[in-house]
Symmetry: D2
């Protein structure tokens, strides 16, 4: 998951205090159903404890805003940076990633107190115009960790054989929509971040890409379609798979998407009946690619996806990025639609996560940096039901390794025309 | 760690209710300084969460006493046996050992409530004479888990780089006592459990063993002596080590006992100055054996140790097994003496953990069973500062793999004479 | 390493017999200095025994030409396909890759006999025009395995602490050439295979790509420059490295290119003094990328490299692909130049190995297939000193994982202008 | 496998030259059917290449006899000790064990030449009385490696899916003999090496052991009986197994002894029909112990086995240790009997491989030493069809880890009476 670089001086001063309060409040609201123990456990190296997300985002404010810009500010606890720094090498030593699950102390309420302390101290900085880009970055950073908090805790609760849950709500039935194809005539498309708004460094520089004619599916692949893939021997047919994917399937005895069990799937609201019309989620790139082969189509490139998302004229399409099921309050994230580009699940592209032309990471720790993850991963476009509302933009580049599937990942097919 | 088999009908009926209350109460008192999160984390596959120990011991009472002998008793939660059974194959499927650290639910207070519920139900069974052996077994079982709870939580808290603790008390200074040798003329010694009292199945049958003349050190090896071993290149000298031990040292870059850091060691009361006169603890069999080679001596056999512990006439020796620092209330376990056979730390013997002549495991789940661990491990004798008072007897056989060292393990030397 | 698909009916009939004889002969000439035992050992899963390469290439002719097109041809040994098939899933079960080093039987001379038998049988097919594309493919396939044979046996002999060699020749001193930059104004470049000549399926379809202005270094990075990188702490500076690369460096204690030792490097002619003016080889993508960061530049994309290789007008550049040090007879491969695009070493690009627009793998086993390796790998351009002469073309796409370095891999820098 | 220490000055001077020639000759005769490549491959870390055994035994003569005692002797190749030393730490650095399979050079004939050179030089030493014990040790050492050469090459050839063999002979049909029990009344038995003859250091000192009454089966468990164990679900019944054994069975999907396939087993003569009346071989301690539990009996201790082998009066029993099928010339080792204590297969005891009372390893490299393997292994008694004739004695202690099974290991049951 990327970290942000401000692209321009944003004139967002006026509503920053309100937005700061909203974002910080949402983080805590998401963790509200969790006990201290829930918030402490770590289910795998890829994931972090909920408590750690609440602390790490706070560390960000304390380190890059308060320590550097609030005169006389003293660290709340000088030992905490060691445990709540994530991967900023220039910010010094840090705890091994797989030891995060050993942090029973500080407690969840210690962290919540720290949050209040930092929020109070931040009050004095929210009006300083020169800090607005950095604050903007802090907000985006915290919103990213909100999504990770949700996907990580889902994975942790899933380990519990007692079938626990953190919310009671269950999903509405999805509407089945017929598949259709958005055609694109090809030609030169303008790609990457192009406005004065906020974006991560890896979304730029904006540049032109030459496209061949293609079409993108109007909706996501559904659970029901995935059932057909399974019934047709999808997981047993070597020739459908990338070589590494086939190795992964065999070694891990993969037979279905993550979180599937009989006709149920595990959600933040516990085990629920699986809706055949809802978009399939929690699949790996390997599975997405094999499914596309099986279906006789392919995955789109990140450029094709973005071109459709922008519309023929470079405008955003009819799809309303605000209209999805994205995270806007503390309710369980559940994909329900499938027709929207944003808001159900992240969509794998066949594009490697690599630098755009003339990309240069910014100097210093804040700019450390999306660039260093640019090997071995694939770009995902869109936004999921666990993505903060307001994080949807055509230029956004999410990225994961081809075997990872604990995020809300799904498939939108493409084809040559 | 062994599980128990009643050897005879014990006439302990009178004080069983009081002893039941004391043992059950001590388990909870030990866990009292722990938060739900502290009690949830699992630091390695060898260890279990504190919460799990509290639950597993309760599962034992519910399964083997209440379910089988209390008419009409209904399981508190029918899903819990799956997660709180440990290794009783005949009691059905159970959670993978390394997943115990994912049990944020049930919470610590859920478990405490379960304990109360079970204790109340047990009231009706404590007076039934025919159940006394099984109850005796349950008490010993729970006392063993008290020791494991303490060594496991110590290991878990040790992982936290913030240096946390669960108690505030620190150790009194140890008295340095000069080394002396208890000689034994050799001959036929009677080994194994020989009284009407309680014992685990692996302590019997009693039998005779032929000994050569030998001497056993009057005290344990100290931290200060271990410092000399290190200073003399003990960890760098291949010829001092067993072949597997040398491989272990090299692969894991072992340079000192577990929990050592500069001149400190980690304890339940956090990082403390290391007392050179206190017995060394938390060493592996490999280290114990290498130290003995370096010192020009050897480790005793379990038979030699037991012969000395029984005295020349088969009596218990001057060493008072009740006089050590053993666990009798909820205070931090810290070895302080060194002259006692019981109460400071478990003492490695060079005897493999193997069956005594005519040993047969008992039938059924309760008897599952010390016998199945009889490969690859070594016998330890004595008792540690974390052992329940009353668990000290000459015939007790503790056992661990030669690389393990998270228990309170130490060294008492022997030599041929 | 790719497998080939004929793109068009080639009119190569006339000289096919001569070329067949030359290619087949070269394979055996390369293996001539090897004993049966040399040809049997396998040093890692990535590599194969020399004997296996000689057999696998023969299997290809027997399976796809003789079995399918030579009437009445009977397999030389019906059990051999199981052991000498490589990864063609549609051709049935095959031996686990890491067990190839257990094939002490058949012997090297058994394989050589089989080769003669197959060559004799092939005589009857070399004149059949409709088979020319398939024969062309077989030749390219065998030439690729010639390069692998050389890099694999180098790795195997390197394991021997006695410092063995397979040839006696040592390298001529390289000529130091000053660095210069080939500029490119950007714009639309035509990429991919564009002629009637042979190409692998992954080199097409030809298509257009939009480039930004850039410059490509006129020569390869040298051993001497790499020494400076090391002296400047290159392997100790986290911020120079991709995140995965830094993990790889730390885990494997990487301090220098593969095959370096003091001021020597291991070659097919044994340990030799390292020439500071010769191109650095046997480095991973991670190292190439870190070096480029340290040098203040970057790696080129595969498209930039190809655009320069084709020249401004789509022509081949002054660099003569035939003029390098490439493999043309059985002499030890040693990079010596550095100014040529082809013939010293493969050059890492920052382009992921991914399908070109409208790429579709061909049906059937022969087309199994470059496509299935399209995840997690990077494209390399050029050709090395171990590449068969005649395999140099601007569209060629070699590919390896970012940690692999037993091929003759090197670095040519690029920069934005 | 142990290394030897001479116990006394042997008066074997007269026939030493003849015995030296016979032993050295047998080593080469055993390797005669092997190609250089056969002799080079290494199938697992536990095993060594045949070539390595031929070289390592020669290294022993050159190092401990010629270098130390033949004036003016110069090492044949001063780099070879590094690669042909096995585990003698005091003799300096040595090649990693798992890299032995990379030694395609020196070739098999290089080694054979070295052997001749050393044999010629040894001529001058064979008559020196003071060297007799060391020469005796060298002979025993070489004989042990003859057995390992045979079991290691069997394992290596087994990896080849083409079903190769090194000899053509197949086994005679075994005679089915009824099971009977040798009873022993218990009491004090004298254990360990007690004569002037040669023995390894771990066979002493001789000492007394107290035994309970027991009985030992008159014959080995057969393939047919093992078939019944399998048919009765032996490999699926957790309660029959040691805990570590059950983990090993599950992790490795063990379903039968090593080398079994349908109703065949792999031998030095390739795949052969399995004789139900022949002793079962190639089973692990875990399997032996589970089988004994299933049969309602147990494994003997090493002391029980030895007491029976010595007979009631301390004499050797009717079983003729020279009468078995042991290795005496270069024929394929195949167990055929089952009634003999020596000569069919090694018999697992339930005794840990631990030091006898007053055991002290001898000083120096030659005495490096059986003692350092005294953790985690079990003692095996008897001798197998691959053991050199003359290596059979009641005090011999072979030892392996409980999961290992590439030796000719079998089961002789015991019971309490």
């Amino acid at each position: 998951m990327p970290h942000a670089q401000p692209r321009s001086v944003l004139t967002l001063g006026e509503d920053l205090p309100a937005r700061y309060a909203a974002v910080r409040g949402l983080s805590q609201a998401l963790a509200a159903p969790l006990s201290d123990a829930d918030a402490t456990i770590q289910s795998m190296e890829d994931a972090s404890p909920a408590k750690w997300h609440l602390a790490h985002t706070t560390w960000f404010w304390e380190t890059f805003l308060l320590r550097d810009h609030a005169e006389g500010y003293a660290l709340y606890d000088e030992n905490w940076p060691f445990v709540f720094n994530s991967y900023y090498e220039t910010e010094g030593e840090r705890i091994a990633r797989f030891s995060r699950g050993m942090l029973s102390r500080p407690t969840l309420s210690d962290i919540v107190e720290w949050r209040s302390h930092v929020d109070a101290a931040m009050d004095g900085l929210l009006g300083r115009e020169e800090l607005a880009p950095l604050i903007e970055l802090g907000l985006s950073h915290e919103q990213q960790h909100q999504e990770l908090l949700l996907t990580d805790i889902k994975h942790a609760l899933f380990q519990n054989p007692l079938g626990v849950k953190m919310w009671d709500v269950s999903a509405a039935k999805a509407h089945s929509s017929p598949n259709d194809w958005h055609s694109h005539p090809g030609g030169i498309a303008r790609i990457g971040h192009q406005t004065d708004g906020f974006a991560f460094d890896n979304e730029g520089p904006a540049h032109r890409v030459l496209l061949e004619p293609f079409a993108l599916s109007s909706r996501l692949v559904t659970n029901g379609e995935w059932d057909e893939f399974i019934a047709d021997g999808g997981y047993d047919t070597a020739t459908l798979w990338l070589s590494d994917g086939w190795g992964w399937v065999r070694k891990n005895a993969i037979r279905a998407p993550l979180y599937w069990r009989d006709d149920e799937q595990f959600t933040h609201a516990g085990w629920q009946a699986r809706d055949p019309d809802a978009p399939v989620t929690h699949i790996s790139y390997f599975e997405a690619d094999a499914f596309a082969s099986w279906a006789g189509h392919r995955l789109p490139t990140e450029f094709e996806w973005e071109a459709i998302a922008r519309g023929q004229e470079g405008e955003l399409p009819a799809h309303d990025p605000q209209g999805g099921n994205q995270l806007d309050d503390a309710t369980p994230p559940l994909p329900r639609g499938g027709a929207e580009l944003f808001g159900d699940c992240w969509q794998f592209t066949r594009s490697g996560y690599l630098p755009y032309p003339r990309f240069r990471p910014v100097e210093g720790a804040v700019g450390e940096y999306n660039g260093k993850f640019m090997s071995g991963q694939f770009v995902l476009k869109g936004a999921s039901c666990a993505t903060a509302r307001g994080h949807s933009r055509a230029s956004y580049r999410n990225f994961f390794y081809p075997h990872q599937r604990w995020q809300f990942t799904g498939v939108r097919l493409a084809k040559d025309i």
